[in-house]
C-alpha cells in the first residue's frame, strides 16, 4: 500500500508556473531560486545547445558523404567535431539529465521544498550560461574555435593557433557549474529527506543522482586543474606537459581521463535512474531488486574511478598499466549487468501499459546493451589496439551516450513532461518520431561500428575509397534520425503550449511527485509527508 498518498493533505496551492515573485517575465525565471524553474531553465538552454550540436553532427555527416573537400575545409571540419563534442558533453548531456530532471524532481521525490542551497543552485545555472557563452565566443574570437577534439590532447592543443584557451576556460567554468550542482545534491539528499525516508526508501532516480553527485564533486576538479595547466602553458609557457621541458604528454591523458572516464557515468547514471522510475510505473508493480539497483549505482561510480586507462592502451603508457586497467574495466560491467537484469525481471508478472515513456525505456535498453557490450570489446586490450580511435569507438559512444543517456532523457520528458508543464503530448506523433529515430539511429551508428572495424579512423576529414559506401549509408541513416528528432522536438513544444491538460498522476506512479498537484505548487508540499514504505509500492490488483 502506498502509505504516503497525500491526496487528502494537498490543498490547491498555486502552481510554480503562475506564482508571481519579486520579478516578472524573463527575470522571474532567470533570477528565480525555485528548483523547478531552474530545472526548466536548464531544459531550455540545454535544448538550444543540443540543437546546435546535432546540426553540427549533421554537417559532419554531409561532409563524409563525398570524398575530398566538398562542403567545408579540413580546418572547419576539425572545429566542427570539436565543437560538437564539447557541446554534446559539457553543454548538453552532463547538465542535461542532472541539471534538468535532477533539479526539478530530486527535491520533490525526497519530499523537500527545495534543494539545500537554492541560491547556489541559481549560481550553477549562471555559471553554466557563462561557460556556454564563452564556448560560443571562442568560435568568433581569436583564430576561431579550437580544432583539437573534445579531449584537448597536448602537445597539439598547446601548439595550435586556434582559440583553445577560451574553449578550455569555458570547459573549466562548466566544470565548476557541475561541481556546485553535485555539492548541492549531496547536501540535499543528506539533509532534506522527508521524515521516514531513509536511504533505502529513496526513489532510485535519487540514488542515481547521489552517485552522480559524488562523481561530480570528486572527479571534476582534477580535470579543472588539468585544463588550467594547458592554459598556463599556452599563455605563460609553463610547460608541465611539454616534452621539450621534461614534461610528459601522457600524464595529461591520465589526468584528463581520471575525470573524463567517470564523466561517462555522470552522463548515464541519471539516465539509468530515469529508467528505474519508468519501468515499475508502467509495469504497475514494485521494482525487482531495489537494493541491488540502488547500490549498483554507487558501485558503478566507485569502480568507474578505477578504469580511466582503457582510453590509453596504445598511448605509450606501460604495458602493466594497460593490463591493470583492462582487468579493472571489466568490473564496471557487473553492476551495470545487475541493473539490466533487475529491470527485465521487473517486467515479470507485471501488468504492463505500453506508453511512449515505456517505449523509450525499451529503446534505451536496446541501445545501451549494444553500447555497453561494444564497450566490453574495447575493454579487451588486443581488440582495442585495433579499434582505438576508429569509428568503432564513435559508434560505441553514440550508442551509450545518445542511444542510452539521451534516449532516457527523451523518455523522461514524455514521462515527467506532464508534471513539469502540466500538459500531455500527442501520442501518435510521439510514436512515429520514435520509430524514425530508431531506424535512423541504428542505421547511422551500426554502420559506424562496421566502418571502425574495417579501420576507418575517427576525426578524419576525408576517407579512403574503401570506406565510401558505408559512409553513404550512415549519412542516409542520419536523415531519418533528423526527421525523428525534429518531429519529437515539435511534439514536445506543442505539448508544452497546446497539449491537453494533464491529470496529477497520469501514469499511476507511486513516488511523491505524482502525489502533488500538476504543475506542482511553489513549495511542492503543503505539509512535508511522512514516509512509511518503499517508493514503488503498487497494489497487487490492477485498477
Amino acid at each position: 500500500m502506498p502509505s504516503h498518498t497525500l491526496d487528502d493533505t494537498v490543498q490547491n496551492g498555486e502552481s510554480y508556473l503562475d506564482v508571481k515573485g519579486r520579478y516578472t517575465g524573463v527575470f522571474g525565471w532567470i533570477f528565480s531560486v525555485d528548483h523547478k524553474r531552474i530545472g526548466l531553465l536548464y531544459l531550455g538552454s540545454v535544448f538550444v545547445f543540443f540543437t546546435v550540436g546535432i546540426l553540427l553532427g549533421l554537417f559532419m555527416r554531409l561532409e563524409q558523404m563525398t570524398m575530398g573537400e566538398t562542403l567545408m575545409t579540413a580546418t572547419t571540419y576539425n572545429r566542427l567535431f570539436t565543437l560538437h563534442g564539447v557541446i554534446m558533453i559539457f553543454l548538453f548531456i552532463i547538465p542535461g539529465t542532472a541539471g534538468t530532471l535532477g533539479n526539478f524532481f530530486l527535491p520533490i521525490q525526497i519530499g523537500a521544498k527545495d534543494v539545500f542551497f537554492p541560491r547556489l543552485n541559481l549560481l550553477s545555472w549562471w555559471l553554466y550560461i557563462a561557460g556556454a557563452v564563452m564556448a560560443l565566443l571562442a568560435i568568433f574570437t581569436g583564430d576561431g574555435m579550437a580544432d583539437t577534439g573534445w579531449t584537448f590532447y597536448v602537445p597539439y592543443s598547446t601548439q595550435t593557433g586556434t582559440n583553445v584557451t577560451l574553449a578550455l576556460t569555458a570547459a573549466f567554468i562548466l566544470g565548476f557549474s557541475s561541481i556546485l550542482t553535485g555539492l548541492n545534491f549531496v547536501a540535499t539528499i543528506h539533509r532534506m529527506r522527508a521524515p521516514g525516508m531513509n536511504f533505502h526508501r529513496m526513489p532510485l532516480f535519487v540514488w542515481s543522482l547521489y552517485a552522480t553527485a559524488w562523481i561530480q564533486v570528486l572527479a571534476t576538479p582534477v580535470v579543472g586543474i588539468t585544463l588550467v595547466l594547458v592554459i598556463l602553458e599556452r599563455t605563460l609557457g609553463i610547460g608541465i606537459f611539454n616534452p621539450a621541458m621534461g614534461g610528459d604528454p601522457i600524464l595529461y591523458q591520465h589526468l584528463f581521463w581520471i575525470y573524463s572516464h567517470p564523466a561517462v557515468y555522470l552522463m548515464v547514471l541519471p539516465g539509468m535512474g530515469v529508467i528505474s522510475e519508468i519501468i515499475p510505473t508502467f509495469c504497475r508493480r514494485t521494482i525487482f531488486g531495489y537494493k541491488a539497483i540502488a547500490w549498483s549505482s554507487v558501485g558503478i561510480a566507485a569502480v568507474g574511478t578505477l578504469v580511466w586507462g582503457h582510453h590509453m592502451y596504445v598511448s605509450g603508457q606501460s604495458s602493466t598499466a594497460s593490463i591493470v586497467f583492462s582487468f579493472l574495466t571489466f568490473f564496471v560491467a557487473i553492476p551495470t549487468a545487475i541493473k539490466v537484469f533487475n529491470w527485465v525481471a521487473t517486467m515479470y508478472k507485471a501488468s504492463i501499459r505500453v506508453e511512449v515513456p515505456f517505449l523509450y525505456a525499451l529503446a534505451f535498453l536496446f541501445h545501451f546493451l549494444i553500447g555497453g557490450l561494444t564497450g566490453l570489446m574495447m575493454a579487451a586490450i588486443s581488440v582495442d589496439v585495433h579499434v582505438h580511435d576508429t569509428y568503432f569507438v564513435v559508434g560505441h559512444f553514440h550508442y551509450t551516450m545518445f542511444g542510452g543517456s539521451v534516449f532516457a532523457l527523451f523518455g523522461a520528458l514524455y514521462y515527467w513532461g506532464p508534471k513539469m508543464w502540466g500538459r500531455m503530448y500527442h501520442n501518435k506523433t510521439a510514436i512515429v518520431a520514435l520509430v524514425l529515430q530508431l531506424i535512423g539511429f541504428n542505421t547511422l551508428y551500426m554502420t559506424m561500428m562496421y566502418l571502425g572495424y574495417q579501420g576507418m579512423p575517427r576525426r578524419y576529414f576525408d576517407h579512403l575509397p574503401q570506406f565510401h559506401d558505408a559512409h553513404l549509408v550512415a549519412t542516409f541513416g542520419s536523415w531519418f534520425l533528423v526527421s525523428g528528432l525534429l518531429l519529437m522536438i515539435g511534439t514536445l513544444l506543442y505539448s508544452v503550449f497546446r497539449g491537453e491538460k494533464a491529470p496529477a498522476n497520469p501514469w499511476g506512479g507511486t513516488t511523491l511527485e505524482w502525489q502533488i498537484p500538476t504543475p506542482p505548487p511553489l513549495e511542492n508540499f503543503d505539509e512535508i509527508p511522512t514516509i512509511t514504505d518503499e517508493p514503488y509500492a503498487h497494489k497487487e490488483e490492477a485498477v
Binding site: T75, P155, Y313, S319, Y348, K349, I370, S382, V383, L464
Partner: protein
Amino acid sequence: MLSGASSFASLVDDAFFFILIISIIFFVGIVATMLFFVVRYHHTRNKKVANIEGNLTLEIVWTVIPTLLVMGMFYYGFIGYDTMRNVPDDAMEITVTGRKWSWTFTYENGFQATTLTVPKGRAVKANIESEDVIHSFYIPAFRVKQDAVPGRDTYLWFRATETGTFDILCTEFCGDRHAYMLSTVEVMSESDYNTWYAGTSGEQITEGGDLSAAGEKLVTLKGCIACHSIDGSPRISPSFKGLYGKMETVYTDGKERQVLIDDAYIAKSIKEPAADKVKGFENIPMPPQPLSDDEIKAITEYLKSIK
C-alpha cells in the same frame, strides 16, 4: 570482414568474436525476454501483478556468471596483447618517424623512404618516434597501432603473413591534414625483399652530386610537401613554387617587415620557423625541421629550380 595480413589478425579477431558471440547471446536473450514479458504481461492479459521484491539466488547468479565471462574476455584480450608487446629476438628493426603530416621509415642501413617495405614471415619491430605532436601509427590489416609520442620512444612489432600492399594511417588527431597522413606498407616475399633491400643504400642523399635532385627527394622524404605544395596550389602554408628570390612580408617578434627570400632566410625558416612568421600564415606553426646543413643546401638548390 577486413582481411588480416599479420600473425596478430587471428588473435585480435578471435578475441573480438569471442566477446561478440557472448554479447550476441546476452543481447538477443535479454531483448527477447524483455519483449516476451511485454507481450505476455501486457495489462490486457495480466491484471494481477506479483510484487516480487527480489531474489537473492538470482541476484547472485547474474552477478557471478557475468563476472566469470568477463574474466574470460579479459584473458583473451590479455594474451593477444602480451604477444603484441613481446618482440621476438630475431626481429629486424625499422624506425618510424611521424611528423605533421607524413611518415618516414628508416632502415637498419640508414636508407630512408616514405613508404614501408617489409618481408613476409619475418618479425619486424618498428621503433616509433614523433617530431612534433602525438600521432598514431596504424596498419588496420595487421591489427597493430601505437602512438608516436614526442619525447618518448614507443614500439610495436608484427609478422606479415600475406604479400600485398596495405594502408598505413594516422589515428591520433594531429591537425589539418591528419586525414592525409597516409602511407602504405608493401609486403614482399622474403627473397624479393632481400633483393630490394640490397638495392637500397643508407648513403646521404646529398652525397649524390646533383644537389637540386637531392633536394627534390628530400622535400618528399622529410615531409615538407605535406604542407608546402610545389605547383603553387594553396595548402596550409606558402607554396614552394616561385618562393626563392621573392619579397615576403613576415612578422618578426610581432612586427611586420619585408624580407628577401635567400639562402640564409630559408635556412632560418627551417631551423627556427617561429622567428619569422609569414603574413597570412602567422597562426599556423611550422615545426622546426631537424635537417643537416647539407640537406638544407640541397633543398635551397631545389627551391631555386622551381620558379
